[in-house]
C-alpha cells in the first residue's frame, strides 16, 4: 500500500483510499481492505514504537512489521492506524491473512494497552438490521450464527445450544429461517451487493472486499452504532481492579484491600459441561492463551471457581460462577485487555448474550 505524502486524519486517509485506490493500494491484495478495531489506553503509541517501525503521517501512523511468507522468506507487512474515537483505534491494511496473523495480531496479545474491540451479540444484530434495512436487495452470501435465547425464540428444540455456518446465494432468507426455526442469530456475516461486498464479525474485524465510498459508509455507520457500548465495556474493564489502600488510624500503617470486581451475566443458564467446554476451547484456541488453575467444580448445575491466568500478559484473576453469572475478581497485573479478551472468549464460546458489567454489591435475592 502506498500513501501519498500528507497530513491525514482517519477520514481523509479513507478518502484517499477511495479516490485513488490504484495509487494508494498495490498488488493483488490491494483490492481488499481489512479493518481491525482496537480498544486502547495510554501508552499504546509507545508500545507500537517499541515493536514496529513507525512513521507518522499526520494523525495516521504507519507501522511495519515482519512476517515469514509461504516460501520462508521474511517480508515487511504494512499497517496504518488512526484514531476513530478516544480509546478506539482503527487499523487498516491490505496485507494477507498470513501477514496479519504473524505481524498484526500479536500487537494485542502481549499488550497491556491494546485489545481487540469485541462487539456484543446484541449490537451485532443492530448492525445487521441497519445493513438490511438500508439495502433491500443486499444479499448475504455467508454467515455464522449461534443460539442466543434472549435475542430469538426457537421452534425446534429451543434448549439446544447450536451454531450454524452457511454459504449460499440465499443467505438472507436462510438466516431468517434458521432464526425462526432454531433461534440462532448471526455472529459473522458476508454481505454482497452490486457495489458492496463486506464481511463483519464480533471480534471487531471488518473486511471490505470492494473499495468504494459505499463500503466505507457502511463501515463507519456500523461503527457508530457500537461505539458507545464498546467504550462502556472499556470503562468497565478498566474499573475492575485490586488495590491496597493504606490507612493509619493509630501509630501503624495498615493495608486494607480495595477490590472492584466484575460480573459477566449469562443470558441463559450455564451448566458445568458448558463451562468445561469453554475452558477446553480457550486451551486449544490459537488466539487465546488462558490457563485455569485451582479449579473447584461440582457436578450438576454450575458451581465453579478457578484462578485464571492470561499467559500472554501475565494477568491473573479469579472467577467464580453460578448458573446465572460469573464473578471476576482481579488479582495481579489485571489490565483491561485481559478482561476484554476473556469477555470476548465468553461471548464467542460460552454464551453469545453474556454481558460484562462492574459488580455492584447487593443483598442476594
Amino acid at each position: 500500500m502506498d500513501i501519498p505524502e500528507g497530513e491525514y486524519n482517519l477520514k481523509e486517509f479513507c478518502r484517499v483510499i477511495i479516490d485513488s485506490p490504484e495509487t494508494v493500494l498495490s498488488g493483488y491484495h490491494g483490492q481488499r481492505i481489512k479493518s481491525y478495531l482496537y480498544l486502547s489506553d495510554d501508552g499504546w503509541r509507545d508500545y507500537l514504537d517499541r515493536h514496529y517501525q513507525t512513521e507518522d503521517l499526520g494523525q495516521i501512523t504507519k507501522f511495519v512489521g515482519e512476517y515469514r511468507n509461504r516460501k520462508g522468506a521474511e517480508q515487511p507487512a504494512e499497517f496504518y492506524v488512526g484514531e476513530y474515537k478516544d480509546d478506539l483505534q482503527m487499523v487498516v491494511t491490505a496485507e494477507t491473512e498470513e501477514a496479519i496473523r504473524q505481524a498484526l495480531l500479536p500487537i494485542s496479545q502481549h499488550s497491556d494497552c491494546l485489545s481487540p474491540m469485541p462487539i456484543m451479540t446484541e449490537d451485532f444484530q443492530t448492525m445487521n438490521e441497519i445493513v438490511l434495512s438500508s439495502y433491500d436487495d443486499m444479499r448475504i452470501s455467508e454467515f455464522k450464527s449461534k443460539r442466543v435465547p434472549s435475542l430469538a425464540d426457537a421452534r425446534t428444540r429451543p434448549d439446544v445450544d447450536r451454531e450454524i455456518e452457511y454459504k449460499g446465494i440465499d443467505g438472507r432468507e436462510r438466516l431468517n429461517e434458521f432464526r425462526e426455526e432454531y433461534g440462532v442469530v448471526p455472529t459473522r456475516i458476508q454481505y454482497e451487493h452490486e457495489n458492496v461486498s463486506i464481511r463483519i464479525d464480533t471480534s471487531g474485524k471488518f473486511t471490505l472486499e470492494t473499495i468504494n465510498q459505499e463500503s466505507f459508509n457502511i463501515l463507519f455507520e456500523l461503527l457508530s452504532e457500537v461505539v458507545v457500548n464498546v467504550l462502556e465495556l472499556l470503562d468497565v474493564a478498566n474499573s475492575i481492579k485490586f488495590e491496597k489502600r493504606e490507612v493509619m488510624p493509630g501509630n501503624l500503617k495498615i493495608q486494607v484491600p480495595e477490590v472492584s470486581s466484575g460480573e459477566i451475566h449469562f443470558d441463559q443458564q450455564v451448566t458445568l459441561m458448558q463451562a468445561e467446554n469453554f475452558i477446553r476451547g480457550t486451551k486449544i484456541s490459537n488466539d487465546l492463551n488462558f490457563s485455569f488453575t485451582d479449579v473447584t467444580k461440582q457436578a450438576g448445575s454450575l458451581d465453579f471457581s478457578a484462578q485464571v491466568t492470561d499467559e500472554n500478559r501475565g494477568s491473573l484473576f479469579n472467577v467464580s460462577a453460578t448458573e446465572e453469572s460469573m464473578r471476576i475478581v482481579p488479582k495481579h497485573d489485571c489490565s483491561f485487555p485481559s478482561l476484554v479478551e476473556f469477555y470476548l472468549a465468553v461471548i464467542q464460546m460460552l454464551d453469545g448474550g453474556a454481558r460484562m458489567k462492574l459488580y455492584e454489591s447487593h443483598q442476594a435475592a
Binding site: 501509630n251 486494607v256 477490590v259 485451582d294 473447584t296 471457581s305 491466568t309 491473573l316 467464580s320 443483598q363
Partner: protein
C-alpha cells in the same frame, strides 16, 4: 536380601543376617501397604485444604469489596507467627472493633470438639490483645467478636452445638453454589443453662443477642450478601502443596523451561497477603523454596536465566499444578514407605541376636524352616 547398611548396633558378623531379615520385613510391609487408598487420602487432603482456603476467601470477600459496618479484611491467620493456635482471619472496624473468624469447611459429628477448639483460640486471642493492638492495629481494641464460618450444609450442626454449649460465636454460612454468605443461627433444642433470662421470649431474645453481631447494621449488611472466591491466596500454615501454587502462579518460561526467581515468589507472596512484615514474607518464601526442593518440584538452576527451575516437562500452569500435586503425593507416599523401612530397621536391629526367625517378629511371614 538388601544392600542396606546395618546400623552400628548390629554385632559384627551379623550383617548378612540383618540384611536378610530386613529385606523380608520391608518386602512384607510394602506388600501390605495400601498405596492406592493412601494416595486417595492425600488427594482428599488437598481438596480439604482447598475448600478451607476458599471458605476463608468467601468469608472475607465482602470486606475486601466493601466495608460492611466499617469492617475491612486485615489479615489472614493472625498470631500464626507466634506459633500459637490462631483464627483464620481478622476483620477490623477502624473505630476499634475486631472480628476473629474461623473457617470450618466441614463439621465432624462430634461438633463439641470444634466448639472447644474455638473456645481455646478465643482465649488465646484475648490473651494476646496487647500484641494485636501493638503489632497489627496500632490502636486499641474496644470490642471483640468471634465468628465461625462454614459451608451451608454444616451450618445448623455447628450453630446448634454452639448454642447448646453456651458458647458465644456467631455462625456465618457460605453457599458456594449461589455465592452467598449470610449470618444465621439455628434454634436450639434446649436453652443453655447460663442464659440471663427466665421467660421463653426473653431467653430467645438473649440467644438472638448472643449469636448475632452487636452492630445491628453488620447483621443487616451481611445477611445474604453475595460473595466470591479470590482473596486468600497465601495461608502460611496450610499444607505445603497448597502454598506451592504460588510458585506455579509466579513462574515464567525461559526457552522451554518453566522457572522462577526468588524475587518472583516474594513479590507474589507480598502481593497476595496483607500486613505481613517483610521478615515474615521472607520466611514464607524460604519455606516455599525449601518445600519445593524437598518434593523435587523446584531445583536450583545453574543458569543465569533464573534462580530455580521447576522440575517438569510441562510449561502451562494448569499442567504444572497437576505435576505439583502428583509430586507432593509421591513424596508423601515415599515418606510413609521410608517410615516402614525405618521401622523394620529398628525392629530387626533390636531383635537381631535375640530372635532367629522372622515369624517371631509377629509379621506373619513363614520362617525359613517352614518354607521347606
Amino acid at each position: 536380601m538388601t544392600n542396606v547398611d546395618p546400623p552400628n548396633s548390629v554385632p559384627e558378623g551379623q550383617e548378612t543376617k540383618f540384611r536378610g531379615l530386613y529385606g523380608k520385613c520391608v518386602h512384607h510391609k510394602l506388600q501390605e501397604f495400601p498405596e492406592t487408598s493412601k494416595r486417595e487420602d492425600l488427594r482428599e487432603e488437598i481438596d480439604i485444604q482447598r475448600n478451607h482456603r476458599k471458605l476463608i476467601s468467601y468469608s472475607i470477600f465482602p470486606f475486601a469489596q466493601d466495608d460492611p459496618a466499617g469492617y475491612k479484611f486485615l489479615k489472614a491467620e493472625p498470631l500464626e507467627e507466634l506459633g500459637v493456635p490462631n483464627f483464620d482471619f481478622l476483620l477490623w472496624n477502624l473505630d476499634g472493633s475486631v472480628i476473629f473468624g474461623e473457617a470450618k469447611s466441614s463439621i465432624p459429628d462430634n461438633a463439641t470438639k470444634v466448639v472447644n477448639q474455638l473456645e481455646d483460640r478465643k482465649e488465646i486471642a484475648e490473651d494476646h490483645q496487647d500484641y494485636i493492638e501493638e503489632e497489627y492495629l496500632g490502636s486499641e481494641i474496644n470490642h471483640m467478636e468471634f465468628v465461625v464460618a462454614t459451608y451451608v450444609n454444616h451450618g445448623d450442626k455447628i450453630a446448634k452445638e454452639i448454642i447448646e454449649e453456651g458458647a458465644e460465636f456467631i455462625t456465618w454460612v457460605v453457599d458456594a453454589h449461589s455465592d452467598t454468605l449470610w449470618v444465621r443461627h439455628a434454634r436450639p433444642t434446649a436453652f443453655p443453662d447460663n442464659l440471663e433470662a427466665e421467660q421463653p421470649d426473653a431467653m430467645l431474645e438473649e440467644l438472638e443477642r448472643r449469636h448475632t453481631h452487636d452492630i445491628s447494621s453488620l447483621n443487616g449488611e451481611l445477611d445474604r450478601v453475595t460473595t466470591s472466591f479470590g482473596q486468600a491466596d497465601v495461608l502460611p500454615t496450610s499444607i505445603i502443596v497448597d502454598r506451592l501454587r504460588v510458585v506455579v502462579q509466579a513462574r515464567r518460561v525461559e526457552g522451554r523451561h518453566p522457572c522462577v526467581d526468588r524475587e518472583d515468589i516474594r513479590e507474589y507472596v507480598a502481593e497476595s497477603s496483607l500486613n505481613y512484615t517483610e521478615e515474615r514474607v521472607e520466611e514464607i518464601v524460604n519455606d516455599l523454596i525449601e518445600g519445593g526442593e524437598n518434593i523435587n518440584f523446584l531445583s536450583e538452576w545453574e543458569d543465569d536465566r533464573a534462580g530455580f527451575k521447576i522440575v517438569s516437562n510441562y510449561t502451562a500452569k494448569d499442567d504444572l499444578e497437576q505435576v505439583l500435586e502428583d509430586k507432593w503425593i509421591d513424596w508423601r507416599i515415599e515418606g510413609k514407605k521410608d517410615e516402614l523401612r525405618e521401622e523394620c530397621e529398628d525392629r530387626v536391629a533390636a531383635e537381631i541376636g535375640k530372635q532367629s526367625q522372622l515369624s517371631k517378629y509377629g509379621l506373619g511371614v513363614p520362617d525359613d524352616g517352614d518354607e521347606e
